[in-house]
Amino acid sequence: MVERGPLVLRPASAIPELCGSVELSRAWVLACERHPQLATVIAYKGRRADVAARLKDRYALSLPDGPRRATRGASALIGLGPRSWLFQRETGPALEPELSEVLGDAAAVTNQSDGYVVFRLTGPRVRDVLAKGISIDLHDRVFVPGCSVGTTCAHIGVILWRLEDANDVSVFELAVFRSLARSLWHFIEESAAEFGLAVTPAC
C-alpha cells in the first residue's frame, strides 16, 4: 500500500517553459505569470446592495458598478458584468471559503484560482503588443489605471486590466481560461518578438 502525505496545494504554472526572446537589458516588453487567488462573485437577484455592504465592511472595497478594478491592500475587485465580479488576492488564507462566509446567501462564490491563468505584461512597447490582438482603445489617457475590460485577444476570451504604472511604464494583466493559456502566450510571444520579449518574475 502506498503511503500518501497530506495534500498540499500550490500554484502550478500553466506554462513551465515560459521564456522570452531576448535578454532583459534588450527587451521592450516584459512578461511573467502571476498566481493570484481568484473567485467570481455573482450577486443573487436583488442582493447587489447586500454584496456591496458586506464587501465594504470586511475589505473596505467599493463594488465597481462598471468595468473597473477597485483595490485595497492585497485585495482587488474587478467588474465583469452587471451583477458579477472577480475577486483577486495574491496572498492570505484560502479565498473562496472566506468569501463564501462573508457573502453568505447574497451571492454565488466560485473558486477560479485554477480556472484562469494571469499574465502580467509591461514595458515601453506593451501597447503595441496588445494592439495586434485587442480592439479596445488602450490609450494612456483612455484606459487608465483601474480600468478593466472583458474582450477577446487574438480571438481568445480575456479579462484585461491596467495596474498602477511602475517606473512610469504601463502595466497590464490578462486573465485567460487555463486551457487557452498556451494559445494566448503563443500570441504574446509572436506579437512581442519584433520588440524583444523577456520573461522576468519581477516584471
Binding site: 465583469l80 458584468g81 452587471p82 472583458g150 474582450t151
Partner: protein, 88 residues
Amino acid sequence: MRIPCPYCGSRDLSEFVYHGDAAPKRPDPAAENASELFYTYVYLRENPAGPLRELWYHASGCRSWLIVTRDTRTHDIAGAVLAMESAS
C-alpha cells in the same frame, strides 16, 4: 457595426451573438393549444423594414443579454438596454 453595450460601452459586432426579435414570449406548455402556440413561437417571425427590438448576447464582454433597437434597413442603432432591466 458597433453595439453600445450599457455595461461595457461601444463594442465591435464580433463580440456579440445574435438571437433575433425580442418580442416572442415562450408560451405556456400546459395550455390546451400548446403545440400551435409553440409552432408560432419557434417558427413565425415578422420581417419588418425599420426599427426592430432584438436580443443580442455580449458573449465576449459582460456576458449579458441586451435588447438592441436596430433599423433593419440601415443598421442604425437607436439604443441598447440590459434585458434583465427591461420590462419586456
